[in-house]
């Protein structure tokens, strides 16, 4: 139930904000120079960072609960215990993947 509504919320966030950021990123790379600097400055700003981290978490959450929905479309995974475990796994997985991604981007790689 909770994971199902999360699927919608993260999907809407990715549709509206995620694709806007992707398009802005591509435009900034195409333009180069000052335009790219404006993008990186916004991305490095605390608010920008929170938005980007939120979007990557949304991406992983939506991806994992999307896989869950595909499995359920096939008619599998409807037993209460299995279903609940799968739902919790999507949240644990998305948080872990987000931490790993940002640890790599901000820490491991200069």
């Amino acid at each position: 139930m909770a994971v199902s509504i999360l699927h919608r919320v993260t999907g809407a966030a990715l549709s509206l904000a995620g694709l806007a950021v992707l398009t802005w990123w591509l435009l900034a790379i195409a333009e180069g120079g000052e335009a790219y600097e404006t993008f990186t400055k916004a991305a490095a700003h605390p608010v920008g960072l929170i938005v980007l981290i939120g979007l990557t978490w949304s991406f992983f959450q939506h991806l994992l609960s999307g896989v869950r929905h595909l499995v359920m479309d096939s008619g599998a995974g409807f037993e209460l215990a299995t279903n609940k475990r799968f739902a919790i796994l999507t949240i644990v997985g998305s948080v872990l993947l987000t931490i790993i991604l940002w640890a790599w981007l901000l820490g491991v790689r200069p």
Partner: protein, 131 residues
């Protein structure tokens, strides 16, 4: 009334029952989701493997077919999947028929316009003169 039609005469007059459409939308949402599973993983792995995220490195990456082609597919399939998904949200929560039509039309324009803008930027990077 044929055997295959289970609706009541009154229901038929009121136009209730299956709209005889929607199956394609349902399938499109799922097929694009499987494509995005691959393309999304590609984007994350690519960004992680790039030596740096400065404009020169990114341009070089998006000029190569291994960068430009999956990115173009990601943009097209991504906007299509977003449109399919947002339509479900609008259809579920906007009950007034006029507002629903307006919202769906707005989303369609946003999706097509956004995808065109992103593809233009990508083409400029991929076919641009100097890195």
């Amino acid at each position: 009334m044929s055997l295959g039609d289970s609706s009541t005469p009154l229901g038929r007059v009121r136009g209730l029952g299956s709209a005889r459409e929607g199956g394609e939308h349902w399938l499109s949402e799922r097929v694009t989701s499987i494509a995005l599973l691959l393309l999304g993983t590609w984007l994350i792995v690519s960004v992680l493997l790039l030596p740096a995220l400065d404009q020169r490195t990114l341009t070089e990456w998006l000029r190569s077919p291994w960068g430009a082609v999956p990115m173009a597919l990601l943009v097209i399939v991504g906007f299509k999947h977003a449109l399919d998904g947002m339509k479900v949200v609008v259809d579920d929560y906007v009950h007034d028929e006029g507002s629903r039509f307006a919202m769906n039309t707005l989303l369609l324009f946003l999706a097509v316009g956004g995808a065109a803008l992103a593809l233009f930027a990508l083409a400029k990077i991929a076919f641009g003169g100097h890195a």
